[in-house]
C-alpha cells in the first residue's frame, strides 16, 4: 500500500506530519475555545433567568 518514496521518504513524510499536526492543532484549539465560550455563555444566561 505504501508508495515507494525512494530517497525522499523523510522529506515527504516529515512535511506531511508537520502540516497535518499543525492543522489538527488549529482545529482542536478552535473547537475547544468554541465549546468553552458556549458553556460560559449558557452558564451566564441560565443565571439571568
Amino acid at each position: 500500500m505504501m508508495p515507494d518514496l525512494g530517497k525522499y521518504a523523510e522529506t515527504v513524510l516529515s512535511s506531511y506530519a508537520v502540516s497535518i499536526l499543525l492543522i489538527v492543532a488549529l482545529v482542536w484549539w478552535s473547537v475547544r475555545a468554541a465549546r468553552k465560550a458556549k458553556l460560559a455563555l449558557e452558564d451566564v444566561e441560565a443565571r439571568r433567568k
Partner: protein, 250 residues
C-alpha cells in the same frame, strides 16, 4: 430574502453558522482526505523532483490560503470601518490565527522541500521573503488584538493596521522582487498562459493538478469552517462579557 447585511446581526449570524458549520466542515474533511490520499498514494513521482512533488498538495493550498486569509481580513476590516458591523471585525480577528498557521505550513513545507531540491532550507528568495514578511504582519496584527482591552478600540486599530499593512505588503513584494531574482519557480498552477497552452514554461501537469485542485477546495472549506466557528466563538465571548457586566451593574 434580504441582503448580505442581514448576517451582520450577531444572532442571525450565529443561527446561520449553526446551520452551515457541519456541512462545510464535513465537506472540508472529505475533500482533504480524498485530495491528500489521492495525492499521496495514487500519483506518480515527478521525473525530476521524485517523490518530493507530493509536498505540493500541502504547500500550494496552504500558501494560497495564507494570502486569501489576509485578503479576507482586509475586506472585513474595511466593512468594519465603513459600516461598523461587529461581526465583520470579529471575523477578521478569527481569521488571523488561521492565516498564520497556513503561513507557517507553507514556510515549513517549503523549507523541507527546498532542502533536497535547492540544497538549502532557506534562501532569501523573493517568494520566501515575502511570506516571512507576511508572517510578521500576522504576528503584529494578532499581538495588537491581544494588547488592547477595549474591543471597539482594538477592532478600529487592527483594521487600520490591516489596511496600511496591505499597502506595505504589496510594496514589499515589489521591493523584494527587485532585490533578488530567486530560486522559486513562477506561478505554475494557475496561469492564463498555461491554460491556453501559449506559454512554454513549466506547468503542473494534469496528473498532479486534479488531486491538487481537490486539496485546494478542501483547504478553502476548512478555512471557511474555521472562520465561521471562531467568529461564533468570539460572538459568544463578547455576549458573555456583556451579560457579566450587566450582572455586576445590577
Amino acid at each position: 430574502m434580504g441582503s448580505i447585511w442581514e448576517y451582520a446581526n450577531p444572532v442571525k449570524f450565529s443561527q446561520t453558522v449553526s446551520r452551515f458549520l457541519a456541512p462545510v466542515a464535513m465537506g472540508a474533511t472529505v475533500c482533504l482526505v480524498i485530495g491528500l490520499v489521492w495525492g499521496f498514494f495514487f500519483t506518480p513521482d515527478d521525473f525530476r523532483q521524485g517523490a518530493t512533488v507530493k509536498i505540493i498538495y500541502l504547500h500550494v493550498p496552504a500558501a494560497l490560503m495564507a494570502i486569501n486569509a489576509w485578503f479576507m481580513m482586509l475586506v472585513t476590516s474595511l466593512i468594519w470601518l465603513v459600516r461598523r458591523h461587529h461581526v465583520s471585525a470579529l471575523a477578521a480577528k478569527a481569521a488571523a490565527p488561521i492565516g498564520v498557521t497556513m503561513t507557517v505550513i507553507a514556510l515549513i513545507t517549503g523549507a523541507i522541500w527546498g532542502q533536497p531540491m535547492w540544497g538549502t532550507w532557506w534562501a532569501w528568495d523573493p517568494r520566501l521573503t515575502s511570506f516571512l514578511i507576511l508572517f510578521l504582519f500576522y504576528l503584529g496584527y494578532i499581538a495588537l488584538w491581544e494588547a488592547i482591552d477595549d474591543p471597539d478600540t482594538a477592532a478600529d486599530l487592527t483594521s487600520v493596521l490591516c489596511i496600511v499593512g496591505s499597502v506595505f505588503a504589496v510594496l514589499s513584494r515589489y521591493a523584494v522582487n527587485f532585490w533578488n531574482q530567486g530560486l522559486h519557480q513562477g506561478a505554475s498552477v494557475m496561469r492564463a498562459g498555461a491554460i491556453t497552452g501559449t506559454d512554454t514554461e513549466e506547468k503542473v501537469s494534469n496528473v498532479f493538478f486534479y488531486p491538487l485542485l481537490v486539496c485546494i477546495i478542501g483547504f478553502v472549506l476548512l478555512f471557511v469552517a474555521l472562520v465561521l466557528l471562531r467568529t461564533r466563538t468570539e460572538i459568544h465571548k463578547r455576549r458573555t462579557r456583556a451579560l457579566l457586566a450587566r450582572e455586576r451593574m445590577a
